[in-house]
Symmetry: C2
Subunit: 199 residues, 2 copies
Amino acid sequence: MAERTRGRPRSFDREAALDQATWVFWERGYEATSVAELTRVMGIGAPSLYAAFGDKQTLFEEVVERFGERFGGFIGRALAEEPTAQQVVARVLREAAAEYTAPGRPPGCLIASAALNCPVDQVATGLRARREENVRAFESLIRADIAAGRMPAGTDAAGLARFVGAVLQGMSQQARDGVERAALEAVAEAALRAWPAAP
Amino acid sequence: MAERTRGRPRSFDREAALDQATWVFWERGYEATSVAELTRVMGIGAPSLYAAFGDKQTLFEEVVERFGERFGGFIGRALAEEPTAQQVVARVLREAAAEYTAPGRPPGCLIASAALNCPVDQVATGLRARREENVRAFESLIRADIAAGRMPAGTDAAGLARFVGAVLQGMSQQARDGVERAALEAVAEAALRAWPAAP
DNA sequence: TTCTTTCTGTAGCAGCCACTAGAGAAAGGC
DNA sequence: GCCTTTCTCTAGTGGCTGCTACAGAAAGAA
């Protein structure tokens, strides 16, 4: 990755700076994070930021991508590793309670909360698409379970998937409001009781 | 109310201007709403706004108060009119699906979404307190139902109340993401299936 | 009429916003 | 050594932010 190139070499670690930026955006959200604060936390000058990352919006998009890989991965892992919709959802909700309140990092989920009330349409839309992606993944998983006879034939797959998405968003917001892990776990357990019994 | 006073009379309707301000804050959130936009929509100059409402933050607090009376009232009404916790929660969730997607007004709930990612602590804290108030009302209602033998003795009242709060917040966010009423009603129905059976 | 009180419109405050021009610094290629 | 390339630093840009000083307008009180 570190190809030798001509010209003066970059004096900072691009990956480390990206991590710092992720932290700030996660904590404050897109709009409330100023470029001045980013450069301060990243330890670089504004021209270096613009040379390395484009502009604030492009930097944010890269931050979101990285966040999805590093911290949003628990949803992808559950989707990949658990065999049934119920097991996926149970694991996702329980892990969300832990992830959204993990000590040493900002509460909640960046993808759920960083671009709320954001007047830059493209930014808000990008995050919305990522959330919608998850809901659709849940939905097709539920449909598969219905088809396989693991869930009642009359189950409202879209509604149930949307419910899981809403609970995740609600849990993230509650975490940002300062609610702690045990309380979020109670929310997850309550949500799981809504799951339809196997036929 | 319209007491005669000395001095030049105000040239605009204070209540109407407050309604316009409510609309803008509801649509855009606290931070993303500029005083310039407020004065434009309210049809008054900045000095008139500051004379009549104090400053942006005080105006917002008044807007929140009015919003709670006009649009958040459905929760209070359900709490006052329904006899059991289950009936309160069922009505609140179902009405929320309609309220959060009512045509002709901004989607979602101002109290749930207008101060997310807001760096002005006092504003964010004020809305958080209002949300917390609702959760506590649900909780004491559930406790009363447990004491009256209408719900199982082992019910986690705090957890269930927090769950309802999280679902409401999630529904508001989904509404802001453009999800429509029927889908939110499915979320409400799913959430209601989590309610513990009577003992 | 004149005084006092209150509101309104113009015009502008300092401070922050995202962003960048231009000069110098630090590397490889020759 | 010297050229090219790329990055960094200083010092700003215009534009927006919330907010206000000031002068004039419009009412009641005398």
